[in-house]
């Protein structure tokens, strides 16, 4: 079945450093979504990418969707302590004849002030 791999699993940075998490799918995706989950909280939708090669920015966050629509990345510039949490990608692909949203295992980001 469809698999969505996310790396790294953990990332620890000093405040002010950049951070990137990568997402790779075993199959071509219809779209890719990114979510953030704060410690003890629930996942919160950040953004959706649909087009091949698409790049979107939200302040210090930059999201990219690969040309083949099988990979994506989230880059945070100059991390802050408020960026702490787990970042998940989720790919919409076809599995068993129906479309399903499948999540990666997430990248847990900790930021040292």
């Amino acid at each position: 079945g469809q698999q969505v791999m996310q790396i790294p699993q953990y990332q620890h940075v000093q405040e002010g450093e950049d951070f990137t998490t990568y997402c790779n799918s075993s199959t071509t995706l219809s779209n890719i979504q990114w979510y953030k989950q704060r410690p003890g909280g629930h996942p919160v939708f950040l953004i959706q990418l649909v087009k091949s090669g698409e790049v979107k920015k939200q302040k210090r966050l930059t999201f990219q969707f690969g040309e083949a629509k099988k990979n994506s990345s989230l880059h945070i510039t100059a991390t802050q302590t408020t960026d702490v949490g787990t970042y998940f990608c989720a790919g919409l692909g076809t599995q068993g004849g129906s479309e399903k949203l499948v999540f990666g295992k997430g990248t847990k980001l900790t930021v040292n002030p």
Binding site: Y35, P43, F45, A90
Partner: protein
């Protein structure tokens, strides 16, 4: 948050007992999902629904059943709870008109412990 409520928020139950978790939405959205979250596994889809009485299995559906008799309620039942089903369960709704144009909005989660 997004008009979605999960109940109960916490539950401890014994092995072998049936358990039902409820997800209630106030916004009449078509898509509803149940996920479980475990350390090292991220979010895994259990079942999802694309309308009243229309449900489908996710990647970890064994031992779980669902029902959606009304648009606003999506119930997840553990038919005979096992310790491996100790987890945090999240319900989510999809706000779009189809899966290609919808993002998932999550409830607060239910922490279930099976002893």
């Amino acid at each position: 948050d997004a008009g979605i409520t999960q109940s109960p928020r916490h539950k401890v139950t014994e092995t072998g007992t049936p358990v039902t978790l409820r997800c209630h939405q106030t916004e009449n959205h078509r898509y509803m999902y149940w996920y479980r979250q475990d350390p090292g596994h991220g979010l895994r889809l259990i079942h999802y629904s694309y309308g009243v009485k229309d449900t489908d299995k996710g990647e970890v559906s064994d031992g779980y059943s669902v029902s959606r008799s009304k648009t606003e309620d999506f119930l997840l039942t553990l038919e005979s709870a096992t310790s491996s089903q100790t987890s945090v369960y999240f319900c989510a709704i999809g706000r779009g008109i189809n899966l290609r144009n919808t993002e998932a909005f999550f409830g607060q989660g239910t922490r279930l412990t099976v002893v």
